[in-house]
C-alpha cells in the first residue's frame, strides 16, 4: 500500500478496526491502576451491578429462542399453555414440518442457493480483488470507483428494472423469473466482498509473489497457488457474510420465486406457512429453528470472522 500513495483508499472503517480485532483479539479495559485508595470497594460494587445487568440482558436475548425451541417440541394443545418445558417432548412438529409441509425441500433449496452464491462470490471477489490490489491496468481506479459506487444503490431502486430484466433477459430474450438461474445471475458477486478481498490482499507482502514470479508462475497461478492460501481470514469472512446473507435473504427470493413452491427457500416457506396455518405454533417454531440452527452453528464456530465481515458490510441492516 505504501508504495502507491494516492492510489488506494484506506479501508472503510470500521473495517480496519474490525480486521485487527479479528486478527489480534481485543483489549479489555483493565482494572484501574493499583494503589488508589477507595478504588477497591467501588470497583466491587461496579462489578456486581454489571453482572446483574448482564444476566438480565442475556435473559432478554435468550428467552425468545428458548421459547421457540421448547414450543417446537410441544403438541399443539400444549403450545397455547405456558409450561416452561413440554411434558412429553417430541419431534412430531419437526417431522410434520419437514414432510407434510415441505420444509425438507425448502431447506435443500436454501442450502443450494446459499452454496452456489457463496462459491461464485468467493471466486469472483477474490479474483477481482487480486487484480485490483496487484495488477496494473489503465482505468483501474475508475473501475474500482464503480465497484464502490454500487454500494450506494439500494435494492429497492433496482426492484422494477431488475424484475423487468428477469422477465425478458436482454439479448438472450429468456424469462428468468421463477428460475434459480435468475437468482444466481443477479447475485454473482457483491461489491462488499470484492472490497474486503482487495483490502486483505493489499496487506500481504509482495515477496511471496516475486518468488512465484521467479519460478515462472503466471498471474492466475500466482493468484491460485500463492495469494488464495494466504487469504484465509478474508475468505472466511466473505464465506460467512455471503452464506448468511443468502440463507436469510427474503427480498429477492420473494420477488423471483413467489408462487412456485418447489423453489421456496426457508424464509419464503416460513412466510407462506404462517399465512396459511396461522396458529400452528409448534410447526412454525420448528421451521424457524430449522432456519436458525445452521447459521447459529456457523456463528458459534467462526465468530471472529463474523465480526470482520459484518463491520465490513456496514450498510446491511
Amino acid at each position: 500500500m505504501a508504495d502507491e500513495p494516492g492510489h488506494d483508499l484506506p479501508p472503510a472503517p470500521p473495517v480496519a478496526a474490525a480486521q485487527q480485532l479479528a486478527a489480534e483479539g481485543e483489549v479489555a479495559i483493565g482494572a484501574p491502576p493499583a494503589g488508589i485508595p477507595g478504588q477497591e470497594r467501588s470497583e466491587r460494587v461496579r462489578r456486581v451491578i454489571v453482572y446483574v445487568l448482564l444476566f438480565f440482558v442475556s435473559l432478554l436475548f435468550f428467552i425468545p429462542f428458548f421459547w421457540s425451541v421448547t414450543t417446537s417440541l410441544k403438541t399443539l394443545p400444549e403450545s397455547v399453555g405456558f409450561d416452561l418445558l413440554p411434558d412429553n417432548p417430541s419431534i412430531r412438529a419437526y417431522r410434520s414440518a419437514l414432510s407434510a409441509y415441505d420444509f425438507d425441500r425448502y431447506f435443500l433449496n436454501s442450502v443450494f442457493l446459499a452454496s452456489v452464491v457463496t462459491l461464485s462470490t468467493l471466486f469472483l471477489a477474490s479474483l477481482g480483488g487480486y487484480a485490483f490490489a496487484r495488477l496494473r491496468f489503465p482505468g483501474r481506479e475508475v473501475l474500482f470507483f464503480l465497484v464502490l459506487a454500487t454500494l450506494m444503490i439500494p435494492n429497492e431502486l433496482r426492484l422494477v428494472p431488475v424484475f423487468q430484466m428477469l422477465i425478458d433477459f436482454p439479448v438472450a430474450h429468456v424469462n428468468l423469473l421463477g428460475t434459480y438461474q435468475g437468482y444466481f445471475v443477479i447475485n454473482l458477486v457483491t461489491a462488499t466482498s470484492l472490497f474486503l478481498m482487495r483490502q486483505y490482499f493489499l496487506t500481504i507482502p509482495k515477496d511471496y509473489e516475486e518468488a512465484a514470479k521467479l519460478d515462472g508462475a503466471g498471474y492466475f497461478k500466482t493468484y491460485w497457488r500463492v495469494m488464495l492460501p494466504l487469504a484465509g481470514p478474508a475468505l472466511a469472512a466473505v464465506t460467512i457474510l455471503t452464506f448468511q446473507g443468502t440463507w436469510n435473504d427474503f427480498f429477492w427470493p420473494l420477488i423471483i420465486f413467489l408462487g412456485d413452491e418447489t423453489k421456496y427457500t426457508l424464509p419464503l416457506g416460513i412466510f407462506q406457512f404462517r399465512t396459511q396455518f396461522y396458529t400452528q405454533w409448534p410447526e412454525l417454531m420448528a421451521a424457524s429453528v430449522i432456519a436458525i440452527v445452521p447459521i447459529a452453528l456457523i456463528y458459534v464456530f467462526f465468530q471472529r470472522y463474523f465480526v470482520a465481515g459484518v463491520t465490513a458490510a456496514g450498510v446491511k441492516g
Binding site: P13, P14, A16, A17, E26, V27, A28, P32, P33, I36, S42, L54, V57, S58, F61, P64, F65, W67, S68, V80, G128, L135, R136, F137, P138, L143, L146, V147, L148, A149, L151, M152, I153, P154, E156, L157, L159, V160, P161, F163, V189, L194, Y219, Q244, F250, I255, P267, I270, F271, R274, L284, M285, S288, A291, I295, Q303, V310, T311, G314, G317
Partner: protein, 305 residues
C-alpha cells in the same frame, strides 16, 4: 548495450500489456455484473419513472406526473410517515442499546466472549425466522401477554401485531432488539481504538466510572456515533421483511405497518404499476443517498478512532 536496453524495454512493454489484459480479464465478470445489475437499473429506473408503464410495457410518456401523483397519494403519505416515525424511534434506541452493550462487553469480565456472542445472536438469525418467533410471543395468547396477565392479575389479550395501535411499535421493538447487536459490534470496534492510557489518566485524576464514561469515552466515540447513526438510518428507512411478514404483505391492520419499501413492492409486483413504482424507488433513493454518501465519503477516508 543499447540493444540490450531496447530488448528489455520491449519485454517490459509486452509484459505490462499482458498484465493489463489479465487484469481486465480478472475484473471482467464482477464489473459486468455491477454494470448490468446496478448501474443500468439505476439509469433505467429514472427512465421508467417518466412513463405510465404497465404489465405489458410502456403505455405513454407522462413526464413528471408519477412524481406529482406521489404528493397526493394517501398511501404513500402513510408509508412515508410510518417509515419516518419508525426511523425516529428505532435509530436512537438502537444506538443507545448498542452503545450500552458495547461498553458492557468491553469490560474485563468473565465470559466476555459469551456475552458478546449472546447479544449479537439475534442479528445472525434471519429476519423472517425471528419475526415468526416474535409473532408467536406477541400473539394474543402469547408469552408476553401471559407475563402481563400474571403481573396485572387479570387476563390480558392484546394482539400486538394485529392491532393498528401497536403493530408498528412492535416491529420497532423487534428490530431494536435484533439489530442492536450489530450496532454493538460497530461501537466495540470504535471503543477498542481508544487508547487505554486515556482511562488511566482519568483514573489518576480521580474520575469515577460514570464520569469517565460521559467526560472521556462518550466524546471520544464521536466518529463511532456518527457511523452507527448513518448505518442505522439507512437500515431503518429500508424496513420491509418484518412489515411484510406480520401483515402478510398488506401493510395492515389499517395501513399501520405500511412502509415505503412495502408500498413500493405492492405497487410494482402486485399492482404492475412499474412507472409509478420506479418514481417511488427514486424518491427513496434520494432520501437514502444523502446519509449513504456521507457514510462513504467521510468514512472511506477516515478511521473510526
Amino acid at each position: 548495450m543499447a540493444t540490450v536496453a531496447k530488448t528489455r524495454r520491449a519485454t517490459l512493454g509486452r509484459e505490462s500489456v499482458r498484465e493489463a489484459l489479465v487484469g481486465y480479464a480478472f475484473v471482467a465478470l464482477p464489473i459486468a455484473s455491477f454494470l448490468i445489475f446496478f448501474m443500468y437499473p439505476l439509469a433505467n429506473a429514472f427512465y421508467i419513472s417518466y412513463f405510465d408503464w404497465g404489465a405489458l410495457g410502456k403505455i405513454e410518456s407522462v413526464g413528471l406526473r408519477n412524481y406529482r401523483d406521489l404528493l397526493d397519494d394517501f398511501l404513500f403519505g402513510k408509508a412515508l410517515k410510518n417509515t419516518l416515525r419508525y426511523a425516529l424511534i428505532v435509530v436512537p434506541a438502537q444506538m443507545a442499546l448498542g452503545l450500552g452493550l458495547a461498553v458492557i462487553v468491553n469490560q474485563a469480565l468473565r465470559f466476555r466472549t459469551f456475552f458478546r456472542a449472546a447479544f449479537y445472536f439475534p442479528a445472525v438469525a434471519g429476519s423472517i425466522a425471528i419475526t415468526a418467533v416474535a409473532a408467536y410471543i406477541l400473539s394474543a395468547d402469547g408469552l408476553l401477554n401471559a407475563g402481563i396477565s400474571g403481573v396485572r392479575g387479570s387476563e390480558y389479550n392484546h394482539p400486538w401485531f394485529g392491532s393498528s395501535d401497536t403493530a408498528l411499535e412492535s416491529i420497532m421493538a423487534l428490530n431494536v432488539w435484533t439489530t442492536s447487536g450489530t450496532m454493538m459490534l460497530f461501537y466495540l470496534a470504535s471503543l477498542q481504538s481508544i487508547p487505554t492510557d486515556v482511562y488511566e489518566a482519568a483514573a489518576i485524576d480521580g474520575a469515577g466510572p460514570w464520569r469517565t464514561f460521559w467526560k472521556v469515552t462518550f466524546p471520544l466515540l464521536k466518529p463511532g456515533h456518527f457511523f452507527v447513526a448513518v448505518v442505522s438510518v439507512i437500515g431503518a428507512l429500508q424496513v420491509f421483511d418484518q412489515a411484510f411478514f406480520v401483515s402478510a404483505g398488506s401493510g395492515g391492520p389499517n395501513y399501520s405497518t405500511m412502509t415505503i419499501v412495502l408500498y413500493l413492492y405492492n405497487t410494482a409486483i402486485e399492482g404492475f404499476r412499474f412507472g409509478y413504482a420506479s418514481a417511488l424507488g427514486i424518491v427513496l433513493f434520494a432520501i437514502i443517498v444523502v446519509p449513504t454518501l456521507i457514510l462513504r465519503l467521510l468514512f472511506g477516508r477516515a478511521e473510526v478512532s
